[in-house]
Assembly symmetry: D4
Homo-oligomer: 148 residues x 8
Amino acid sequence: MKIQIIMGSASDMPIAEKVKAVFEEFGVAYDLSVASAHRTPDLLKKLVEKSDADVFIGIAGLSAALPGTIAAHTIKPVIGVPVSGKVNLDAILSIVQMPPGIPVGAVGLDRGENAALLAVEILAVKDVRLEKKLLEYRKKMREKAVSK
Amino acid sequence: MKIQIIMGSASDMPIAEKVKAVFEEFGVAYDLSVASAHRTPDLLKKLVEKSDADVFIGIAGLSAALPGTIAAHTIKPVIGVPVSGKVNLDAILSIVQMPPGIPVGAVGLDRGENAALLAVEILAVKDVRLEKKLLEYRKKMREKAVSK
Amino acid sequence: MKIQIIMGSASDMPIAEKVKAVFEEFGVAYDLSVASAHRTPDLLKKLVEKSDADVFIGIAGLSAALPGTIAAHTIKPVIGVPVSGKVNLDAILSIVQMPPGIPVGAVGLDRGENAALLAVEILAVKDVRLEKKLLEYRKKMREKAVSK
Amino acid sequence: MKIQIIMGSASDMPIAEKVKAVFEEFGVAYDLSVASAHRTPDLLKKLVEKSDADVFIGIAGLSAALPGTIAAHTIKPVIGVPVSGKVNLDAILSIVQMPPGIPVGAVGLDRGENAALLAVEILAVKDVRLEKKLLEYRKKMREKAVSK
Amino acid sequence: MKIQIIMGSASDMPIAEKVKAVFEEFGVAYDLSVASAHRTPDLLKKLVEKSDADVFIGIAGLSAALPGTIAAHTIKPVIGVPVSGKVNLDAILSIVQMPPGIPVGAVGLDRGENAALLAVEILAVKDVRLEKKLLEYRKKMREKAVSK
Amino acid sequence: MKIQIIMGSASDMPIAEKVKAVFEEFGVAYDLSVASAHRTPDLLKKLVEKSDADVFIGIAGLSAALPGTIAAHTIKPVIGVPVSGKVNLDAILSIVQMPPGIPVGAVGLDRGENAALLAVEILAVKDVRLEKKLLEYRKKMREKAVSK
Amino acid sequence: MKIQIIMGSASDMPIAEKVKAVFEEFGVAYDLSVASAHRTPDLLKKLVEKSDADVFIGIAGLSAALPGTIAAHTIKPVIGVPVSGKVNLDAILSIVQMPPGIPVGAVGLDRGENAALLAVEILAVKDVRLEKKLLEYRKKMREKAVSK
Amino acid sequence: MKIQIIMGSASDMPIAEKVKAVFEEFGVAYDLSVASAHRTPDLLKKLVEKSDADVFIGIAGLSAALPGTIAAHTIKPVIGVPVSGKVNLDAILSIVQMPPGIPVGAVGLDRGENAALLAVEILAVKDVRLEKKLLEYRKKMREKAVSK
């Protein structure tokens, strides 16, 4: 089981770091690449088509076509992370407002950790070990929240 | 394998119908309930906690707290569908902008069919039969698009 | 008579401080807790249900489900304070656009002091001493405004 | 105990009707007037100042200054109802974004019923009979929601 | 001939300074006061009603009711200046979206200099000396723009 | 004394009718023309430069450059009326957000009557007869509002 | 010389009709196809890469990735037309906010005629006959505007 | 072959620098001027009408009438660059939402490099040498993106 993380630009790395941190905590394998729906569409297509990942995470700002383009090339679940900038509604709406037939699940602005957690939840649907880790993770989150 | 669809209000049925149509096409089992994060929070909690669903779909408009509240009660993947109204940005942002730790994957406004397809993709991660159906579904979509 | 202040996250403390300052000025008793509609929904429910507060104030940013979820568990008046972030319309609309049946009274972005004053006004409906203090407070505010 | 409902314009009557229906269900006394912060500011001031109401509800669209102006003339709780039009964010933001010191509790767009319920909740803080009615009202709402 | 400048808050002074600078350049008399539609409505009303100003300029942020409230108390031309903050659309829409019958002329966000110039243009309708100054002012502006 | 009304398009006539109705009620002379900042810029420039109007009213939708372009060609007061369409924020912001040096006073969306009233107020600054009419007009507006 | 028009969906035909009408008036050759960045990305890529068009026009609504994806596959000028729907800012921002390196020229919402005219202007850069037609077209537009 | 770059204000220079850098890389001739649709409309008109440029680029913020006004005076292709400020939607919508008949191709906020590349693409329609340079430029962009 593996997740493919794709950033639209190397400048999206701070958001990708949040994704990686969660995967490392959960012991989930991942690949991280930079590929742009606009600058390197063929690279992106190849990356998606040859990938054996079970879930894809696309991270992009502005007219964030990346998650939707990943979804265009795979029937694996695709999670989109809008990256903040000067407008913000641009990346959010570009990722959320996909046309019928090609789904993307959007998480919040710069919310790499939630993209990772959603990906883990997807893998955990058929993986009891991961399911347990998720329950523990959430339990710890609650204890930490309560202790404050 | 089963999906739990939850509408925040009975008036969200037209969007739920889009979800159901996809599940029936794919032969995916589902339950459909009305439960509101605001009007019937305990019912919603019970419904989520006792459910053996693998994926949840929450459909809601306005300050659409439903998908996020479902996610608060489960570590299964949760997909949120914002329902259109007089403002639209309210439901979209309420569903997308989840805080760190509790992920929801948002699809587009009124996009019940994409919520269903994303749910099928999630189930298909470990179900070769569903994966094939998704590939066929997409192939047909493309043929239909080309033939126009 | 008592007010229950609930922050969705410990990071909302600067806004809670504005609330506290007003209550201390008016000699109004309050409790301050952190409880999240998303991360600790059961804690939040218990906190609200066992509280003997007369008014609740929920402080939250992003898809700010907190005030609405408090309102789902009580028939006491609930005041919501949206907390500023990268989008701002998210928290404002999430708190304001409640569905019919479960009211929340929203104050402005980061406007903890107004949430507190509204809570005092509510208590003062049947408390002549507080009513007098409010009249004095407003008088002083006007004198201060005029003297500038 | 009494509520003063004020509409900015006679055209806001459909929203005021929602307020009235709730008050009649709860047996709460109310007065309904038309007074505009812009067209009849002196009438509005007199109406507010001479009123013996315990709570005020201001209903207005566009640059909805009405609730804020009511709040400027009273230290009683003021609830604002933005009325929908061609822009919607105008009335919502005009009512929500009050400056420090003069609180208004905003409910959702066209949400007269919630304004009324919030007003009943405020009166119920010290009125056991109304509190019971609110609990029954909510119980019925839940039963109705569940039965669907 | 005189202009009355009113700020909703002493914190709006940087915008008022832009207004003053223009009036001083044109030799136009003005008064500058702080009066809030929300905090000091009676002071504001008195200030407007007793003023012998020919034009009013209201400077305010947030739910900027000030210019509209000035207009409610006078039939002199009123110019509104929205002041920037965390939302910006709040002050712009609150000032622009006045209901029928009570006009306000809104200038851009923080655009005190344009409010002043519009006021001078209004006075210049019947003042040949000011009209000439305006023509010179614009000529200089053009020369300065061209020389860059 | 005269007002020049300019519509960006013949389709803006319903808004211009509101302007005309007010001028006819007040007995104010006006000219009404169609001239577009985009389609007929030279016609617009000539129209503005040769006009002996004391005030200009520009009515336009979309990227409503008309009022700003009128203001570019005159030092007479210019009032802009944004016309509603599919976006609305486009016309409002295009008219309000003028750069420093070239003022436009914007009224609300489709608010032709307020543009006319503001123009009358400007003429009335030095016209006692018009000032009286404005006072009567407002008095009647109030009586009509009260009688409802 | 030829223009390739691509619609993201057959439902965009009313906007494509506006494009065609202009090309027919100017005698400009064009091809019209349906190809979606999301549903048929390979078809779209092939269509763009094998095309000998001099200019591309992409017409799409929602998270309108089409024009940007066309631009990703060609170094010919690409014009994007956002199509109206329930949100409108989604298609506008998705098309306008392209990242550095891959330009798209966006025209207004549903503005097929302007996309066509811009395409004709591009062809006319080196085509005196088309340049003359454009001058005549604009002259006629002005005469028509003046005659109204 | 030449491009005319026009900034609405000298403060737009950082965006113009991005345009120039691309033109210098491609060896494309250009003129750079400051001319405002609002402050120096006649200068702007003359500049556009006497120019022998093949493409125009207009750079402006706020109610950015510059690109549309350039387009009003020429039938050459016009590219508009919205400049960021406190609102951002103002400049984007002012440039994108042009009325029928006068096209402008808008690029993204502050996206001077894309305006330049689009201009080069337009010139390259009939210039094989530039076309080759564009292909090389894009190839290098891809190699650089891949190497990261």
